[in-house]
Symmetry: C2
């Protein structure tokens, strides 16, 4: 189903899908909201997750913390309906555009995982960098929705 | 300048920047166009690239192929003026929003690196997957702009 990566010309300018998976057999995936254009999350897929996403039109990832295929929204109900999949020039990263309706994407409870911004400008080496919350309110209570599940965040 | 990653609560809900760099001391970065919202590219930063991006407000990455800091646009002239930087819940990926004016981001000549889409639906195992070009025309001629430079794409 994938074309072998023969040469740079074919990978960059060709019509055939020739994805490059890394040493862990994963490819990074960025997911944006088809309405707002906001980035909802950054994840990874293995071949099986990519195939399932293409065929079912619902986002599947590979969970590095749980080491298994992850049908996004299976527990929370917040599935992601894929409206478009793109791949980049050297075919080593994927862009998913999805419809999550009025739902949420982040396990912490916010709509997007990227709910904090980093201030621009001179860094004072003596001080820690203080961020700003761009989303003020959680869309759901993760303690209720993910009751009994372990947190995927690792220190 | 970064807060130590003490616990999940602080990383996810705290105000302080505590980025997680991977085994190669890199963090993945997704860059979107502040006007269109399109993803322009997916790259990586090390600590120095992140610091330079914050301080100069121009995107700096770490080039994995050249193994060095990469001030985006230094050769092509297509620099990226950063309008916002965000970080995700577990602080292991970064979202840059940039202004590239009428410029381009992709070394192949397109505005975005994600110029091809993958068709959704049942995959025929016997056939290679054929993509669609979503950008029809190149914005510049890479052979002129990058004359004498090696192609960063690796097979």
């Amino acid at each position: 189903m994938f074309k072998k990566r023969h040469n740079i010309q074919e990978v960059e300018e060709g019509k055939y899908l020739s994805p490059k998976f890394d040493k862990n057999d994963l490819i990074p995936v960025v997911t944006t909201d088809f309405k707002s254009g906001d980035i909802l999350m950054h994840g990874y897929m293995n071949i099986e997750a990519l195939k399932k996403t293409i065929e079912t039109k619902e986002a599947h990832y590979f969970s590095r913390s749980r080491k298994q295929i992850w049908h996004k929204g299976k527990i929370s109900g917040f599935t992601q309906k894929v409206t478009e999949i793109r791949i980049d020039d050297d075919q080593d990263s994927i862009w998913l555009t999805v419809d999550i309706g009025d739902g949420s994407s982040c396990h912490v409870g916010y709509r997007s995982c990227f709910y904090r911004s980093i201030p621009l400008g001179k860094i004072d080496d003596g001080k820690k960098i203080k961020m700003k919350f761009e989303e003020k309110e959680k869309k759901f209570d993760p303690e209720k929705v993910y009751k009994g599940q372990s947190n995927p965040t690792k220190i």
